[in-house]
Structures are given as C-alpha cells and as structure tokens.
C-alpha cells in the first residue's frame, strides 16, 4: 500500500505535540525499592510490628491512599532516616509493583 510519507510525518508531529504537555512524574521506583528494603521491611514483614506488607499487598490506588494517610506516621517512626522525597520514591516503587500493576510475564 503506497501512501504519502507526509502522513507519517504528520503522525510524528502529532506525537510530539500530543505529548508536549504530558510527562511521567513522581518518585524514583528503583531508589524506592532500595529504600523500602532497607527501611520498611524491618517492621513490615510477617510477624513484625507493622505486619507484613509487600508491593502486592495493595492495589495502586490503595498504595496512594496508604501513603496519603500514613506517610507522616512512617516518617515519625523511622525518626529522620527518610525524607519526604524518599517516601515519594517508596510510594512510587510500591505503586509500580502493586497488585494491579504490570508484572513480569514469566512462568513460575
């Protein structure tokens, strides 16, 4: 099927234009994972004080609600070990790996 390459060019421009006002934003998921493992898992494992929490424990919306409600308590609990941005990174990690997030498509 032969058509003008101008159609493709228009598509490119449309893509650029469409996305110019949109961008992914939020925390650093990889950094969040590191911080989560280092700080959160001391309390949030099976049998520990905070009860077991893994990324799959909640949906994305539930994680966002959780952090909105509990971030201040968590910060207080870790006594200055984490900053507000750190909490955003942890929130991003848990959001990205929540029960309703994309998961690796492998067996096992």
């Amino acid at each position: 099927m032969k058509k003008s390459t101008r159609i493709l060019a228009v598509l490119f421009l449309a893509a650029l234009f469409t996305t110019s006002a949109l961008a992914a934003e939020g925390g650093n998921s990889r950094k969040g994972k590191y911080l989560y493992k280092k700080n959160c898992k001391t309390c949030h494992v099976a049998g520990a004080e905070g009860g077991e929490l893994t990324p799959l424990s909640k949906t994305q919306a539930q994680w966002d609600r959780f952090f909105k409600k509990n971030a201040a308590d968590c910060l207080e609990h870790v006594k200055g070990k984490l900053t507000g941005q750190d909490m955003t990174d942890i929130n991003q990690f848990l959001f990205d790996h929540a029960a309703d997030s994309d998961q690796p498509e492998t067996c096992g």
Binding site: T19, A23, Y34, E105, G108
Partner: protein
C-alpha cells in the same frame, strides 16, 4: 463495614444507659430507636451488596488485562533481487560425462584422434551442445576444469556471472494493529493460570495468509503471534503454574509457553520482562513443560532460579495424513536449561542453553503460493494459473525430511541504574548439525544436491537435454557454528526515554526469534548488522508513543531459517550464487506507534 458494625454495637450498648438517664425524655428514646432501625436497615443493605460482590469475585475467576498498539511503518528495501537456482553435483556430472561421452555429447578424441581440450569435443546437437548454447559460461568453466565440486545453476536461465535484475522497493506506509488480552486466574493458593490472546493484523487484510516471499511470510504455529495474520484472536500463551509443590521451591508449568519478548528485548518494548528465556535466542511460541526451582534460599543469590524446559516444535504424525502410512519425518523435540543467575530488580544475568532434535525442513504452516514459484516448479499448472495472475492458491506446507539437530546457548546481562539508565549485552551461539538429508528447500545449513541427468524432452527417443533432478541429499553435511551479539542502552530523555540498539548475526547464526514482530523480519535473527534508534514518549503510566527506525544490513541469505546454505548477499547480486527466495541487501523501517495498556 467493620467501622459501621462497631458503631452499631456502640449504639446498642449505650442504649440502656441513655434510656435510664433520660427516662423523662421519651422523644430522645424514640429518636435513638429510629437511628438503630435506620442503621440496621443500612447494615442489611450493605450486607446484601457485599454478598453480591463476594459472589461476583468468586465467579469472576479470570482477571483480564492487556495492551493495544497501533503502528505505522515506512519500509524501504535497497537492492532486492531474485535469482533461484539449484546446487548441482559437478563431480558426479564429470564422472557421468566421461563414463559415457557419446551419449552426453562429448568426443574426447575428436575427429582426428587427438585428445580434445576445453569444449572442442562437444558434438553438435547433443545434450552437452544444447546445454553449452544456453549456458556458455557454465560450459566453458566446466570444460576448463575450473569448477568447484558443487556448482549453482540458475532456474531463470541466467548464465554464470549474469547478474539478476535488482531493484529498490518502497512501501511508504504500512499500518498495523496489535491487541493482546492477558488472563490470570488463581486456581488454588499455589496454582495460577496465565494466558494471552493476541491479534496482530495489518490494516485492510484479514486473510491470515501471505504470499511466500520470505520465511517471515510463513503463517505457522511458532510465529503467529509476531506476524500479521488477520483479525483472528489467537492463543499466544496458555499455561498454569503449580508453585511450592509439596512445600518446596519447585514449580511445574505446562502449556503454551511464555517464550516470547524475553530479556533483554523488553526495554525496546517499554514493558517488563515479557518472557522466560533469553529474547536474543528464543522469541517463538512453544508448547511445552517447565520444571523450575527457586534457588535463592539455597544459594543466597537473589532471584536465582533454574528451569528445565521441554517442548515439541513439530508433530510428525497427527493431522499429517498418517493413516496413509507414508510419513517419513519424526517429531521435533526441544529441551534445555534456563538459569536466572542473578536478579535483584536492577541487575539481571541469564544463561540459556537448549537443543532442538530432529529438526525438519520447515515447520507446518500455510502460505499463498507465489505465481513465480508455480512457473518454476509447476509448469503444467502454470499454463492455467497464468490466466489468473492475481490469484494465489493457498498451501498447507508440511515438511518432508528430518534435516538435523540444533543447539543454542547464550549469556545475557541487563542493568537498570538508579538514574533510569538501562543497558544490556547478550552473546548467543547456535550450532547447526546436519544429518546429510535434504527436502525441497534444502538440508540444514545446506542446499538440496541436484544431479545432472539426461532427458529426452522432444520425445524422439534420444536424450537431448541435461536437467538437474533433486537427490534429497544435503550438498554439505558439515556442522556449522554461528554467533550473535546484541547490545543496547536506554537513557531517560525529556518526556520519556531514548534508546540505541545494535545486533549482529554471523553467516550461520540461527536463533528461534522469528516471532519478533518487526515487520521486515525479526531483527535479532538477521545474518548481518542491525541498528535501531527509538524515542519513547511516556504519556502516562498506561500510554506511550514510540518513534524510531531500524536499519538492516543483510550479509547472508536465510535469516531466521536453518534450512538452506547461507549465501553472501553480494554473491547473489553478482550472479555468483543463488537463492530460492528473494534477497535484500539493506532495508530500513521507520516507525511510529501508540500503545495503550489496560
């Protein structure tokens, strides 16, 4: 719900106290009674709704998700040519000619009894004379003794050194739509079902079949998910995982495998790891079994998992007319090891090794038979078919011959830095181990050897022509090793990511990646160089636009197929070598796509 119930109990407990304290306030009691009644009604209503939700959750057993991609490609091929030919056993030819010179048309002593040299001794009107008239360069080379043991004879009548017509091909825009519907279900606490239904079509075509001008156009079991096959929703994956068997770290998984889009190809797809085995070696839909063991607890190495896999790539009997009892092929079995050596979410190291035993000359599949091949191989049919040049008959291809075994191995590494930079490298090795047999399209890494025989074409009882006939023996049964490398980097960029990738495949590089959905053909199967650059615009976590280009520089023919001897593309273009299917020297694919995940 719990809060409401607590509130209700509190009200009930407080009720007597309140009543005693306010016996003279009948109105208050009535008000409290009304509140209890209202709360009871609301509790009943909520209970009904929860029951419905519970029922729905129990019955709605499959969790659906998926993605939808629309894509526009502009495709440009440079120096395409088609010069089909056959490999002829010239040693045998020489033996036959000199064992019976008069019949072939050669008089070694000439008319005066002096030994002849070159082609002087060709008897006019003989089969050799007719051959020399059609292919003078071939004849001169033959009689000068300057020929290899195996020579190639053009099926288009081109003489040795005659260059085939070559041209460029431009398809300004090709639109495609790909829809994948994922399924997950919890069967039991340690048993899951996963599946994926896939539709991949180019706009304006739902025939599900393409004219056979490359192996990429072959509609077959292992590659349907990655090739445009109309508006059919095919089962790309369907398998269960039975985990923690007997409380151990073993798991068993059987079904149509998650054997496509494996690492490190997920970065260019802008998705998470899409399959279990190395995407550099395997990008093919297999039916099979995996037994895995999560080794992390045992070794202390994060993410370490060992998997032993078994699969079947070809069923030789069932559905192949086996009750006529003429089947000569065997089932193709695959087995291997897939080891996630290390996987902490940022660094991933993977080892893949497997073998395919009793590989046949092409899998089962369908294609539209090209008019060009009808003319070559079926001249009688062509007499009628030529009246319908715009019609192709649909063919169900079934391999005829077991051509050998294949072995593949690879080591891959990916790294995702904190700052979002991702990079990877993968090395692959493939070995083709032919058994010396060949089918219509050839043997493993080899052509079907043809033998020159005499034929009486005019029916006068005397041989007048030399024609090649297939022996169904491989022209070469040597074991051939191939290797491939695949490297890439992806960096954060304004509004998204920018990526660069490069891969190379050697002459005999033959991975199982034909289901990669690049429209020109699996870039990772390329015998040659491939470069790709792309920009991904992340609109939101569920939508992205990808704009990029892939450049292919083919060095050898037969990318993606173990069948047939790879020929240098330059030799085919120069008329020194031949290819049953059209060849391309270089090609580039510029694309833009929009993907929506849901």
């Amino acid at each position: 719900m719990r809060t409401l119930f607590t509130l209700l109990l509190t009200v009930l407990l407080l009720l007597p106290v309140t009543a005693v304290a306010a016996t003279d306030e009948a109105g208050t009691i009535d008000e409290l009674r009304k509140q209890v009644k209202d709360l009871s009604a609301e509790l009943e209503d909520i209970s009904d709704r929860v029951d419905k939700n519970e029922r729905h959750t129990a019955l709605d057993r499959i969790n659906w998700y998926g993605d939808f991609r629309v894509k526009a490609d502009t495709l440009h091929y440079s120096d395409t040519a088609w010069n089909p030919g056959v490999a002829v056993d010239l040693n045998q030819f020489a033996t036959d000619v000199f064992s019976d010179p008069p019949t072939w048309g050669f008089d070694p002593l000439g008319i005066d009894g002096i030994p002849m040299t070159g082609d002087e001794g060709i008897i006019p009107g003989s089969p050799l004379a007719n051959f020399a008239a059609q292919f003078p360069n071939h004849a001169n080379a033959f009689f000068s003794g300057n020929v290899p043991a195996i020579g190639y004879l053009s099926m288009l009548g081109l003489d040795l050194g005659d260059r085939p017509e070559k041209s460029d091909l431009d398809n300004d825009v090709l639109y495609t739509t790909r829809m994948r519907l994922g399924m997950k279900a919890n069967v039991w606490k340690n048993v899951n079902f996963s599946g994926r239904l896939s539709m991949y079509k180019n706009w304006g075509d739902s025939t599900g079949i393409k004219v056979f001008d490359s192996w990429n156009s072959f509609t077959m079991d292992g590659t349907n998910g990655g090739n445009t096959t109309g508006d059919w929703l095919r089962v790309e994956r369907a398998y269960f995982d039975w985990k923690n068997i007997g409380g151990s770290n073993f798991y068993l998984s059987i079904g149509r495998r998650p054997s496509t889009y494996g690492p490190p190809s997920q970065f260019r797809e802008n998705e998470m790891r899409g399959g279990t085995p190395s995407g550099h070696l395997v990008h093919f839909n297999f039916d099979g079994i995996t037994v895995g063991y999560h080794l992390a607890e045992l070794t202390g190495i994060e993410g370490m998992t060992a998997r032993i896999c078994y699969g079947q790539g070809f069923e030789s009997e069932w559905g192949n007319g086996e009750r006529f009892n003429n089947i000569t092929t065997e089932d193709t079995h695959l087995g291997g090891l897939n080891l996630d050596i290390y996987n902490d979410g940022m660094t991933f190291v993977q080892l893949t090794a497997f073998a395919a035993l009793d590989v046949v000359d092409g899998f089962k599949g369908t294609f539209a038979f090209p008019a060009e091949l009808v003319e070559l191989f079926a001249p009688t049919i062509n007499q009628d078919a030529a009246n319908f040049p715009n019609m192709n008959f649909m063919v169900r291809y079934q391999p005829s011959t077991v051509v050998g075994d294949m072995y593949l191995g690879g080591l891959g590494f990916t790294r995702e830095e904190m700052n979002g930079v991702k990079y990877f490298g993968s090395f692959g090795w493939t070995r083709l181990d032919p058994n010396g047999k060949a089918g219509l399209f050839g043997g493993m890494a080899s052509d079907n050897l043809y033998q020159a025989v005499l034929m009486d074409t005019d029916g006068d009882g005397t041989a007048d022509s030399i024609v090649p006939v297939p022996t169904n023996k491989a022209a070469d049964d040597s074991t051939q090793d191939g290797y491939g490398v695949y490297v890439g980097v992806q960096v954060p960029a304004p509004m998204g990511k920018f990526g660069l990738e490069y891969n190379y495949g050697s002459e005999f590089w033959t991975p199982f990646t034909q289901a990669q959905d690049d429209v020109i053909g699996s870039k990772l199967a390329t015998r040659g160089h491939v470069g790709e650059a792309y920009y991904i615009f992340d609109i939101n976590p569920k939508m992205f636009i990808k704009v990029g280009g892939i450049y292919y520089d083919y060095k050898y023919t037969g990318s993606g197929s173990p069948v047939g001897k790879p020929q240098k593309i330059d030799d085919v273009l120069d008329g020194k070598a031949f290819s049953m299917l059209p060849v391309v020297d270089t090609a580039w694919d510029g694309y833009a796509s929009l993907t929506v995940k849901f």
